[in-house]
């Protein structure tokens, strides 16, 4: 199975790899796993508390090229969005953007899941 050019680009030059301070009040962290393959993904968002805009996003993924590309793309899309806009990101958009084949759709689901978890962690901290 051949990876699309966009997947290869994100895999070879992943954007926003790294970590934010998990304990910070304005950081939300999501750690998720894919039971199909055992991949693990951590995605973090840092939110500007005055504007509600996500000003930074980082990820760390241990998994296949598609999982890495999905989370890398997700962090790119998250930056500059409000929490409400971020909630609208759908895994199908990731599938389309990266031209993921059917067997790799679960990688995009994982990224969507990670976004949800990071947002809900941030919201729990800032109730």
């Amino acid at each position: 199975m051949a990876y699309s050019e966009k997947v290869i680009d994100h895999y070879e030059n992943p954007r926003n790899v790294g970590a934010l301070d998990k304990a910070a009040q304005n950081v939300g962290t999501g750690v998720v796993g894919a039971p199909e393959c055992g991949d693990v993904m951590k995605l973090q968002i840092q939110v500007n508390e005055d504007t509600g805009v996500i000003e930074d996003a980082k990820f760390k993924t241990f998994g296949c090229g598609s999982a890495i590309a999905s989370s890398s793309l997700a962090t790119e899309w998250l930056k500059g969005r409000t929490i409400e806009q971020a909630k609208e990101i759908k895994n199908t958009e990731i599938v389309n953007e990266l031209s993921l084949p059917p067997v790799k759709i679960h990688c995009s689901v994982l990224a969507e899941d990670a976004i949800r978890h990071a947002i809900s962690d941030y919201e729990d901290k800032n109730k």
Binding site: V31, V32, G33, P35, C37, G38, V40, F62
Partner: protein, 172 residues
């Protein structure tokens, strides 16, 4: 999987199997149903189809994790898709250990790589031991709901350990 892999090899449905006997039977059956042995085109096609089933069944039984998955399915237990449960802290732990492993691989710190691989191998043995125990207590042909859930939980956890071993070099 079309056919019960245990039936193909004439084995009892059990988690503990004799891997040598399995391999011998595989070699025997593969030879017997080798398509080149048949002249009649229909027989040849049937043999080719059965050969590939034998292959699939062999792969399913040879590996501990896939054998446990196959056996759980045969015993009416939940699949990965149906039941994704995990112990609550497992993903966090795996994330931390995999980050530690990645740093050790990058630094070519072989001692740490070996230590972490050994940890993963011990975890694997522990999960396999627990799986064997639950399977051995199953009475009858199907698992109870609680047995099925327990086996699925251990198998889901084991996948993350296997993935770590699959994705790390044996030495640096």
């Amino acid at each position: 999987m079309k056919q019960d892999p245990y039936e193909i090899f004439g084995l009892e449905r059990s988690f503990e199997i004799d891997l040598d006997a399995l391999q011998k039977e595989f070699v025997k059956l593969s030879a017997k149903y080798h398509p080149d042995k048949y002249v009649d085109p229909i027989e040849q096609m049937d043999a080719a189809e059965y050969s590939s089933e034998i292959n699939v069944a062999y792969q399913a039984l040879r590996d501990d994790e896939s054998r446990a998955n196959a056996l759980l399915a045969l015993m009416g237990g939940p699949s990965k898709e149906d039941d994704k449960s995990l112990p609550p802290t497992l993903l966090m732990e795996m994330m931390e250990i995999r980050e530690e492993m990645e740093a050790a691989v990058e630094a070519k710190d072989n001692a740490t790589v070996q230590k972490l691989r050994q940890w993963a191998e011990e975890e694997r043995e522990e999960y396999l031991g627990m799986l064997g125990q639950i399977f051995s207590k199953v009475s009858g042909k199907t698992v109870t709901e609680s047995e099925g859930k327990q086996i699925r939980l251990h198998l889901n956890s084991l996948r993350y350990i296997e993935r770590m071993l699959e994705q790390t070099p044996e030495e640096v």
